[in-house]
Amino acid sequence: MRHLLSTQDLARTDAIRILDTAAQMSATQSREIKKLPTLRGRTVVNLFFEDSTRTRISFETAAKRLSADVINFSAKGSSVSKGESLKDTALTLQAMGADAVVIRHQASGAPYTLATSGWVEAAVVNAGDGMHQHPTQALLDAYTLRRHLSGTALSAPGASGPDDVAALGADLAGRRVAVVGDVLHSRVARSNVHLLHTLGAEVTLVAPPTLLPVGVEAWPCRVAYHLDETLRDWSPDAVMMLRVQRERMSGAGTGGGAFFPNPLEYTRKYGLDARRLRLLAEHAVVLHPGPMNRGLEISAEAADSPRAVIVEQVANGVAVRMAVLYLLLAGDTSGDRTDPAPTTERVRVP
């Protein structure tokens, strides 16, 4: 693995290797001394063009727990306003000797551009780009699902704990995951659809038609417009709620706005509340990438219920990001670095 740009690039064995490594990382995080010397002398740059304290702190924690040097580079609004270009920022990081660049950018594809431009030699980790991908989020979601949907966690009635022994090496074959909400604007949804599919899970996207992209029919998942029906008739093992931005309902938002009439109607049709929670199977869990809009896409009862693994997702995020940094940076990468980017070959219509 040279970069982590998209879950679409991940083969099943790669994905499971990351999850298994994350499990070992996670085990070290319950120790009194959480810091490992593994990445001593390596430099990780958190390059954030978009505010995201949660993601940045998670990556920063992961890198520091592995003893890497961490540089936080906030370049907010640089490309659109008259700030420094992505290229100049990248060249600066290269000059500083970054071994990995964790990039969050409002433009879809910016991490891809960074990784293939030749501007930097560093490994590039996509920490969320526009409406495209957020691969570590999908990996932490899969990691969380795997703990809760393997072995005894799946079969024991009631809210049994996760089964880490059964989870190791496992995939999510046959598990059903409903992803609910603003799919159109969601990099979390895109990343999850591909990764969950790769891991053998079945995915149903549940959203009003306005919040599903044209072309979604090519994705490896089902699409539904009704949450109640999906919960009742399809019996998902997990429900993943997506964040809805309130400004999507107004007519002024990007892409024309007016995606739904008002928050009340959205909540009525797509919000996860106590009643809908009761439609779930006993072992089923509720995920949310955060930050939550309580009362909009998820009610307090749902968010705080024992089924909700939302806080655990945050902890798992650190372990997954440690695993990704380990796998990208700990091995001998000199061979990788001379490889030309495999995707620069041009496609043409005959």
Partner: protein
């Protein structure tokens, strides 16, 4: 107008030995005094005092005419100048280009269009015909002084807010009506603005995957449908710029069947490239209208072959490196095309057997000249290769193959989408009223 009759340099006498007019039987073409003086059997032309060009195996075409070129001057001389852009046009086999109005300042007054026209004339590479803006500042609210531009030395006949759509139906109606007074035409950039807010690429399977805001085909088709109906209602002629979707082809086909006076163009890149290229997030493939699907590519090829689409126009859109050396969303729309247009048409239409070289002459010379109303008089373009016609001739070697390299192209910009492609066909020589602007494949520098 005395200026009109002064050639940039004196025309010489050339014998184009063994050239094949429109790909037909070889002849000797003699260019003298700015016109085609003789068309005779091979080896029979009088070569006394003439420069003989060995044109064996070369196809002779009437000088190509581009109805859609962005020369960037005035305003963005860092991307292209009238001089560099017209030189690139000559290298691509063109003898006339229509310079789009979206410059800084906008070509919305007689003063700006005359300036562009004069600089073009002084450069002498091709005839530059400025396109006038439809609305003041391309703002889409108030009609520009279309009459003044038409009456100016530049004799503007094509009006367009290209880069922006004349979205207001009332303004569009008025423009269509108003230009009838001087036989003008409105060239519409068909893009419904509300349906394309923030749009980055064709809306479909690829945009869904890449998370780039989609640009639906309907945003183009809805405007074309509206405009052909408006043109029918007010009895005006309408030109559709860079049509790019299968649906657009259908609408134009329907309109023509109904007798509506509409013409349409397609760009070379929409004849060959698809939205799959966006997967590389390389902004060189970011263009307006966006690259569409393989199905659309097939539909525009078919439309061009059957005459639904009248012309190929380059939409040559040079950009500086910094406008393309960045993330996709921050990059400018557009790609260069003057020096690759003929090769792409050959590859997609001629080499596939869908069109003849006579058809190429029609879609790249005669038809665009007629739409732009530059097909009459001493400085006419798009005329047949016959004795007495202005000596605007392009010689192309259809058997040659070349690898495109933006760094060595004549245009000042490097944003060719065909970097590294091996393309068929090479322009060997271009003559503008008997003066060689290109010989041996290279621009003929003035003293």
């Amino acid at each position: 107008m005395s200026a009109d009759t002064t050639p940039a340099t004196a025309a010489g006498t050339y014998v184009l030995r063994g050239a094949r007019p429109l790909g037909g039987e070889p002849v000797d073409l003699v260019l003298d005094g700015g016109v085609i003086a003789q068309v005779v059997a091979v080896g029979t032309a009088d070569v006394d005092g003439a420069v003989v060009v060995d044109a064996q195996g070369l196809v002779a075409l009437p000088g190509l005419v581009d109805l859609h070129t962005h020369l960037r001057e005035p305003g963005r001389e860092d991307a292209e100048t009238i001089s560099s852009g017209t030189r690139a046009a000559a290298a691509g086999g063109f003898t006339a280009v229509h310079a789009m109005a979206n410059t800084t300042p906008v070509a919305d007054t007689a003063g700006v269009v005359e300036q562009v026209w004069r600089i073009g004339r002084d450069a002498g590479w091709v005839d530059v015909h400025p396109v006038g803006a439809v609305s003041v500042g391309l703002d889409g609210t108030q009609l520009a002084e279309l009459g003044a531009m038409a009456d100016s030395a530049a004799r503007v006949r094509v009006f367009s807010d290209d880069g922006k759509c004349v979205a207001d139906p009332i303004l569009m109606r008025r423009a269509l009506e108003y230009v009838k007074a001087f036989d003008g035409v409105v060239a519409q950039h068909a893009q419904e603005p509300r349906l394309t807010e923030g749009a980055q690429m064709n809306e479909g399977v690829v945009s869904a995957e890449l998370g780039l805001p989609g640009w639906p085909a309907v945003a183009e088709e809805a405007i074309i449908a509206r405009d052909v109906l408006l043109a029918e209602h007010v009895g005006s002629r309408l030109h559709v710029c860079h049509l790019s979707t299968a649906g657009s082809v259908e609408i134009v086909r329907w309109a023509k069947g109904r007798g509506i006076d509409v013409t349409a163009e397609v760009t070379p890149h929409h004849l060959i490239l698809t939205d799959d290229l966006a997967r590389q997030y390389d902004p060189v493939f970011k263009v307006n209208p966006p690259l569409r699907t393989a199905r659309d590519v097939e539909a525009v090829r078919e439309g061009l072959a059957d005459g639904t689409i009248d012309i190929v126009a380059t939409d040559h859109a040079p950009h500086t490196r910094e406008d393309k050396d960045c993330e996709w969303a921050a990059a400018a729309f557009g790609m260069t095309g003057l020096e690759t247009a003929l090769s792409i048409v050959q590859q997609t239409m001629v080499d596939t057997g869908r069109m003849t070289w006579a058809d190429v002459a029609r879609v790249l010379s005669a038809a665009p000249a007629r739409i732009g109303r530059i097909d009459t008089g001493e400085r006419a373009h798009g005329r047949p290769l016959e004795v007495g016609e202005p000596a605007n001739v392009t010689l192309v070697d259809p058997a040659a193959r070349r690898v495109v390299d933006g760094a060595v192209q004549v245009t000042s910009s490097t944003n060719t989408p065909f970097q590294g492609y091996e393309l068929p066909g090479r322009v060997v020589a271009t003559f503008l009223r008997g003066t060689a602007t290109v010989l041996d494949g290279a621009p003929v520098e003035k003293e």
